[in-house]
């Protein structure tokens, strides 16, 4: 029960790169991915910038060996899962007891909304093939089946904190010796449903988002997928020196803000409890955290609440912080997975990611984000935050391989 869970590798696809290496280059060159919609068809095309994966479904299908007719959410998932698995060097997946825990928020909604346009005109119309993968779990199964995973599969949906919870559940499966390996993370493609939903909440910025900036005016939606490969102590001990784990998932916690269905409490109660719980599980103090990958959506409410909670927990020793959503946009159910890959890599390579578009410190927060890329830092512990609708707040802590 007290064994460690290790990160053996990771994979990511998002609006700044089709793999981890491309994303790192974009951070280094300070190239955020916001642009006009090219693949999503919406009347808001020229109103709101989004951070799309700059690849068509046909090309994604070609990369993954899947059908181009299935949901983009599954195609994105498959790309990142394949990269994550390859990065571990674990080889033939069939020789392990493997779990796949994937998160998403709207399943195959990108196809359902096309189906619904025909269906609403005539309930006997609309191609059933467009709605057969509507359920969130269907997306997970498409990828699990393609990978040949069947020991344990599950899907989590807790809005924007979904895939952080996938890492927690995956970690528990390993600690309970149900499986040896879990591919954990999440995926979400852009849909008109989510774009219009966030628009009704009036939290979409018509310009590039500015997380933790006093002039921030909302978020930009993004899309993508990100997965880490969690492995047991026993399996980590067998890895060759050429493929040592990136780091440990040393702590995690999930708490509920219990304040409002969509808004965060002003003092970020849930955020505070999640961060505090994760530190406690890691057995470390706030000053031991060397970098925080913020939830940092760029909305007034989130950044104030998250900032307050960090101030309460970390004052007066603020670690470097930044929101990579200033590059990737908010990828919703994928964000916790994408940022887990970035955070785990940060521990491995000492990377601190920049926060783009920052110019003016927030009045109500006593710290400001890092604005320059750097590598080779000594990072012992990195925290990743994911907060969402429904009051769902989750924090993860990634730590260097040496026990602290």
């Amino acid at each position: 029960m007290h064994s460690d869970v290790w990160i053996a590798g990771g994979g990511v696809i998002c609006g700044i790169g089709n793999n981890l290496s491309e994303c790192l280059t974009a951070f280094e060159r300070m190239e955020p991915g916001m642009a006009h919609m090219e693949y999503l068809h919406s009347v808001h095309r020229h109103t709101f910038p989004v951070v799309e994966v700059k690849v068509s479904n046909a090309i994604l299908a070609g990369w993954t060996g899947m059908s181009e007719k299935i949901s983009r959410t599954a195609l994105l998932s498959s790309v990142a899962v394949q990269e994550a698995w390859k990065s571990t060097g674990l080889g033939d997946i069939s020789q392990y007891r493997v779990g796949f825990v994937s998160a998403n928020t709207v399943g195959g909604m990108d196809k359902t909304e096309d189906f619904f346009a025909d269906y609403l005109l005539d309930p006997s119309k609309g191609h059933l093939s467009q709605v057969v993968h509507h359920e969130c779990g269907a997306i997970t199964e498409l990828v699990a089946d393609a990978m040949g995973i069947r020991h344990h599969i599950s899907t989590i949906s807790t809005a924007c904190s979904s895939s952080a919870n996938a890492l927690m559940y995956g970690s528990r499966l390993i600690r309970n010796n149900m499986v040896d390996v879990v591919i954990a993370g999440g995926t979400d493609a852009l849909t008109r449903f989510t774009l219009n939903g966030f628009n009704t909440l009036m939290i979409l910025d018509p310009a590039a988002c500015r997380p933790f900036d006093d002039t921030r005016a909302g978020l930009n939606l993004g899309e993508g997928a990100g997965y880490v490969v969690l492995i047991s102590d026993a399996l980590a001990a067998e890895l060759p020196s050429s493929h040592q784990p990136w780091c440990r998932l040393s702590g995690y916690a999930n708490a509920n803000d219990a304040y409002h269905q969509t808004a965060s409490s002003p003092d970020g109660t849930g955020n505070f409890l999640a961060m505090q719980g994760a530190l406690e599980m890691s057995g470390i103090r706030p000053e031991d955290i060397d970098y925080i990958n913020l939830h940092g959506t760029g909305t007034q409410n989130n950044d104030s609440a998250e900032g307050s909670a960090i101030a309460r927990l970390f004052a007066p020793h603020y670690p470097p912080v930044s929101s990579t959503k200033s590059f990737t946009g908010h990828t919703l159910g994928a964000s916790g997975g994408i940022e887990a890959v970035f955070s785990a890599w940060a521990v491995k390579e000492g990377v601190i990611y920049p926060n783009a578009n920052f110019s003016k410190q927030m009045k109500d927060v006593p710290f400001s984000p890092v604005t320059k890329f750097s590598a080779g830092n000594q990072l012992q512990h990195v925290m990743s935050n994911s907060f969402g609708f429904g009051g769902n707040c989750s924090s993860l802590v990634f730590s260097k391989n040496e026990q602290s």
Binding site: C136, S154, S157, R192, F193, N256, A258
Partner: protein, 354 residues
């Protein structure tokens, strides 16, 4: 460590929400769509909130409240839900308006309430519960994943009571679309005939069932949750038998000790062959009960089966309407629930009387 069922609550097409006992009579239904019997929600929810809540939220909150009341727990140490479809009604409302109004002049309420974690979030909000909160959305494993997460957290030893449950609603849109996938009976059928049917298809159902699980007995505890496992796409019927045998062995339970088998039989001829195979090969002569003629088929229907299993252990009696074959022993000690959803998602739940 034992895991005790401290309280249960169930909203279903039967009058299960009227109290926590098994209803005296079956609410009859006809046709392929069963609707939940809804209690007066005012006893748990503010009237102003009720008006805005979709049925799945109300059913989920009611089942949660009933289970917490029975357990005597005000604030649980975690809230974990499972829902295959999530908040379908609000999803359908927002989607329809978005299409009909060409993405203009939309309002946020339906979108806000469409996310799959709405029910768990609402329960937390109503209870003022800051604890762990999670929602599983994996088709026919949604409920089982919620149970498994609860079991693993309880084993960590820092939580004493967890609220775990599942909820799914049927809407006009979802029933229309699922019907087009040829899931339901074409011919008229009643609750008395359904499980004897030899034709294709079943009937659609819905409901919510919640359980307070804890490491200690509660004042109303009657059963333990002894074991749980899931099997994804087993190769065939022959594969399921050794899986059931090893599941029982892992929980120190012989086949003889199983007093009653509850199966997810739903009247679909091909799907029911799995249950028949297991009844005939592993549990010949054992009494068998069914439940989907009472709640209909839906991806989280196993939660109704577990609610019924707990009631049977509590009352030491199998309702006549549920018993399909065999003679029930005087002392009902262990109940095995074997369910599958569309032959893809198979699960086993073992309950033991306290």
């Amino acid at each position: 460590m034992y895991i005790y069922i401290q309280g249960t609550g169930c909203v279903s097409p039967q009058e299960t929400a009227a109290g926590n006992t098994f209803p005296a009579a079956v609410l009859p239904w006809e046709g392929p769509r069963l609707k939940a019997w809804e209690p007066d929600y005012k006893q748990w929810i503010d009237v102003k909130l009720i008006r805005r809540m979709s049925r799945v939220i109300k059913m989920g909150v009611a089942a949660a409240k009933l289970s917490l009341q029975e357990a005597g727990v005000e604030i649980p140490d975690a809230i974990i839900t499972g829902t295959a479809y999530g908040c379908l009604d609000d999803t359908g409302v927002f989607l329809s308006k978005m299409i009909n109004q060409q993405e203009e002049m939309l309002t946020p309420t339906a979108f806000i309430q469409s996310t799959h974690n709405t029910v768990a979030g609402q329960i937390a909000l109503m209870l003022g519960c800051h604890a762990y909160n999670n929602t599983f959305v994996h088709k026919g494993f949604s409920f089982e994943s919620a149970l498994l997460d609860s079991i693993m957290i309880l084993r960590e030893g820092r939580s004493s009571s967890i609220l775990a449950g599942a909820m799914d609603e049927l809407t006009n849109h979802s029933f229309n679309i699922l019907s087009r996938f040829d899931l339901y009976k074409k011919e008229p059928v009643t609750h008395e005939q359904l499980l004897k049917s030899t034709t294709h298809g079943t009937v659609a159902g819905e409901g919510a069932a919640c359980f307070v699980l804890g490491t200690e007995k509660g004042p109303n505890t009657k059963a333990k949750l002894t074991g749980l496992t899931t099997l994804y796409k087993p190769a065939g019927k022959a594969e399921i038998s050794p899986d059931i045998t090893s599941f029982l062995a892992a929980h120190n339970c012989s086949q003889e000790e199983v007093s009653l088998v509850i199966t997810g039989r739903n009247g679909d001829a091909a799907g029911d062959e799995w249950y028949e195979y297991v009844e005939d090969t592993l549990f010949a002569g054992k009494p068998v009960a069914g439940f989907k003629h009472l709640c209909g088929e839906y991806p989280t229907a196993a939660s109704f089966g577990m609610w019924m299993g707990n009631r049977i252990l509590a009352e030491q009696e199998v309702p006549a309407a549920a018993l399909l074959k065999g003679t029930v022993p005087d002392h009902i000690k262990k109940v095995l629930i074997y369910n599958h959803y569309k032959q893809t998602h198979h699960s086993l739940i073992l309950l033991t009387v306290c």
